[in-house]
């Protein structure tokens, strides 16, 4: 079920990459704004890109990070808690989520976690 890979690959309050975020044009509000349990994500009316209104209020649930259709959101650990740089990137599939963890030395680990029960178990190893 869990695959650890030796690849090379790593951040918590959500940071939005302006080169990737398009503000979810066509949606009534960006998906991250729609889903945030803390009502923290919002659209910056000037840049038309998503922004967290109060980074310190985030619970690090990563709902926005997983929901972003353009993978524009990176969850970053607060510097008071952990060294820089490091990233944790979820890639959401149909029945699984693939997590790539890159520690602050650049070491990569990958995990495939099942998210929905499905007929076939192709996500499992």
């Amino acid at each position: 079920m869990i695959t650890a890979c030796k690849g090379v690959c790593f951040l918590m309050p959500p940071k939005v990459d302006p080169t990737k975020c398009d503000g979810c044009k066509g949606e009534s509000e960006p998906l991250c704004e729609q889903v945030c349990p803390g009502n923290l994500m919002t659209l910056d009316k000037e840049t038309m890109k998503a922004v967290i209104r109060e980074p310190s209020d985030c619970w690090d649930c990563m709902t926005c990070t997983k929901a972003c259709p353009r993978q524009a959101i990176m969850t970053v650990l607060q510097y008071q808690l952990a060294y820089f740089p490091g990233k944790l990137i979820p890639l959401v599939g149909t029945n699984s989520v693939t997590w790539t963890s890159i520690d602050c030395h650049g070491r990569v680990e990958r995990f495939v976690m099942k998210t929905l029960a499905s007929g076939d178990d192709e996500d499992e190893d």
Binding site: M1, I2, A4, F10, L11, M12, P13, E29, Q34, V35, C36, P37, G38, N39, T42, R53, P55, S56, D57, C58, W59, D60, C61, M62, T63, A67, T75, L77, Q78, Q80, L81, A82, Y83, F84, G86, K87, L88, P90, V97, W99, S101, I102, D103, C104, H105, R107, E109, F111, M113, K114, T115, L116, A117
Partner: protein, 592 residues
């Protein structure tokens, strides 16, 4: 005046969380196609609340033994506490059915070779619960419940001790929502954020419980005049340091014992802890042990993960990714390899929860989940005196509450009430108060830093409240110790804030209005907590609340502490309610 949205419901569910979604589903099962089921949800139902980050285990499942054995375990795990055994029994009898329902709904269950659920310890089963919330919400969709997302419920509509509905505001649209109902089920969660969190500034919400649960269920019940229970029985989490991720994953999953700086598994040495079962001692005792060990200068305290199978560490990271992903990154960025070094743990800020290892909430009649206010039901963390239901038990509890509510609706032929326009206008004024006040105060003047000359923000008020609770009501930095002198100071300040300072609370926009209501609700919960702790003149749950003036237990307090708020005097009147032991046996031992 705000634009109004009028909604009529047969069954009104406040809070689309663990309990609320399954309540909607059950209401449809027993109530038929014509029942109008409405859910008002503060956030977005597919991803809101405690389950938003996922969860890797269901902590209530009858793997072995009987429902009675589970009650015996829960009682033991809370130091032989008085608990509502009738309520826990009712949940334990149905919880396995509920898990089956959720498996059929798509929840990936981990299984053993023989096809049985993979257990972790006696009462837990492992799941891949990263999508636990969307799967739970799908049950409400299946029930064709009418769901209103981003509606913050501010007050119940109560007349002559009957709940007639609820009002709130649209967090996005700013409209005033008026919902009349025949029965109302309140399940908006417990309360985080009353005390100061361990981490400051940008990490202040890196806490154990969902920080956006502000105790609105407790506060609304209190203001509605409902009988409340066990607010002295707060929950203090022992969790991984800094990230506050679950330790059950380490303790039960990895067999990692607590050790001190000297590497000693201290729970296995001291006769006091041994008398409670050693490293599996009741939850408050494990908290107490961490405190005592640290105060004896044998900290830091760890969970020793180094003695187990290193291959399990990979599995460990996977399990955390399903519920608390940040710890995996935390380890990666702090060079922590749990197979090579033990994991440091710490005590967090206390939380008020009814469904975890705490038991604050509304008092209910029999096993109906109906509060002492007619037609008002509670479930999930809002239900008091019935701890350790966790997720699977809260799902189940939601189902049971809905069943009783629908039956009562039919038996009593409950009807929608006419609510006088004057009453609604008053409720609207209260709901939008902080926003209106901002508009007035901004005219009085603004400092160069943008803050009001004549008002204060929700954040300011929260900081003040947390300071008072931390310093005078047994916060983490005081190692959870209180005495009557401290409590009197806490009482004085919280009263002052509630009675005198709320008139300055301002909200500049709808998000701010949400924060303002969060702090209004939290202050009400603080009042309950202070009065209950003050009334219980003994230390029944050491580790959770240590009374330096009344150490040890007193047989006179082997009972529930309940209370009712008097709106005229603004006093919370506490009184004793006898405990009824249903499951026979030694209360301080597990039956299996």
């Amino acid at each position: 005046m705000a634009q109004r949205v009028y909604i009529d419901a047969d069954v009104l569910i406040l809070g689309g969380g663990t309990a609320g979604c399954l309540a909607a589903w059950e209401a449809r099962q027993v109530g038929g196609d014509d029942l109008r089921i409405v859910i008002l949800e503060k956030a977005f139902i597919r991803h809101s609340g405690c389950l938003s980050a996922g969860m890797n285990a269901l902590n209530m499942y009858i793997n072995q033994g009987t429902p009675e054995d589970y009650v015996s375990y829960v009682r033991y795990d809370l130091c032989g506490a008085p608990i509502r055994e009738d309520i826990i029994l009712s949940v334990a009898r149905e919880v396995n059915d509920t898990v089956k329902i959720m498996e059929a709904a798509g929840l990936p269950m981990k299984k053993k070779e023989d096809g049985r659920y993979l257990n972790r310890g006696k009462w837990n089963i492992e799941v891949n619960g990263s999508l636990l919330k969307p799967i739970t919400a799908a049950k409400a969709f299946e029930a064709k419940a009418e769901i209103y997302n981003r509606v913050y419920v501010t007050e119940l509509i109560v007349k002559d001790n009957v709940c007639l509905g609820a009002v709130g505001f649209g967090v996005r649209d700013g409209k005033f929502y008026v919902c009349r109902s025949k029965v109302t089920l309140l399940c908006t969660g417990g309360a985080a954020g009353l005390w100061r969190p361990n981490n400051r500034r940008d990490a202040h919400h890196r806490i154990w419980y969902f920080p956006f649960n502000c105790g609105s269920a407790y506060a609304m019940c209190k203001r509605a005049g409902a009988e409340m229970t066990s607010f002295e029985m707060r929950f203090v989490p022992v969790r991984t340091k800094d990230t506050f991720s679950a330790t059950g994953t380490l303790a039960i999953g990895m067999g990692a014992p607590m050790v001190n700086a000297l590497g000693e598994p201290f729970m296995e040495k001291d006769p006091y802890y041994l008398s409670w079962g050693g490293h599996t001692a009741p939850t408050p005792i494990r908290m107490l042990a961490l405190q005592r060990e640290t105060l004896a200068h044998r900290g830091p305290i760890y969970m020793d993960t180094t003695k187990g199978d290193p291959a399990k560490v990979i599995g460990l990271k996977g399990q955390y990714l399903d519920m608390s992903p940040c710890i995996v990154l935390y380890w990666g960025c702090n060079d922590i390899d749990p197979s090579k070094e033990p994991i440091e743990i710490d005590g967090g800020d206390p939380h008020m929860v009814g469904a975890h290892a705490g038991m604050s909430g509304a008092w209910t009649r029999g096993i109906t989940r109906e509060t002492t206010v007619d037609r008002l039901y509670v479930s999930g963390d809002a239900l008091g005196a019935a701890p350790s239901r966790f997720i699977s038990g809260s799902w189940t509890c939601g189902r049971i509450a809905a069943r009783h509510a629908v039956n009562a609706l039919r038996e009593n032929s409950c009807q929608l009430a006419d609510i006088p326009e004057d009453d609604l206008n008053k409720l609207e004024d209260i709901t939008f108060g902080p926003l209106k006040r901002y508009e007035e105060k901004v005219k009085e003047g603004v400092w160069t830093d943008g803050t009001l000359m004549g008002g204060i923000t929700a954040k300011d008020m929260e900081s003040r409240m947390q300071k008072v609770m931390e310093e005078y009501c047994g916060g983490r930095t005081h190692w959870y110790y209180v005495n009557e002198t401290y409590l009197n100071i806490a009482r004085k300040h919280i009263r002052r804030m509630r009675q005198d300072q709320l008139q300055y609370l301002c909200a500049s926009d709808l998000h701010d209005l949400q924060l303002a209501w969060d702090v209004i609700n939290r202050l009400d919960v603080c009042q309950l907590v202070i009065e209950h702790i003050s009334f219980r003149k003994e230390t029944r749950f050491p580790g959770y609340v240590n009374r330096s003036d009344y150490a040890g237990t007193d047989p006179d307090f082997d009972c529930f502490i309940n209370s009712r708020w008097d709106p005229v005097s603004d006093e919370v009147i506490c009184f004793k309610v006898p405990y009824e032991q249903i499951v026979k046996g030694d209360r301080k031992k597990q039956s299996i």
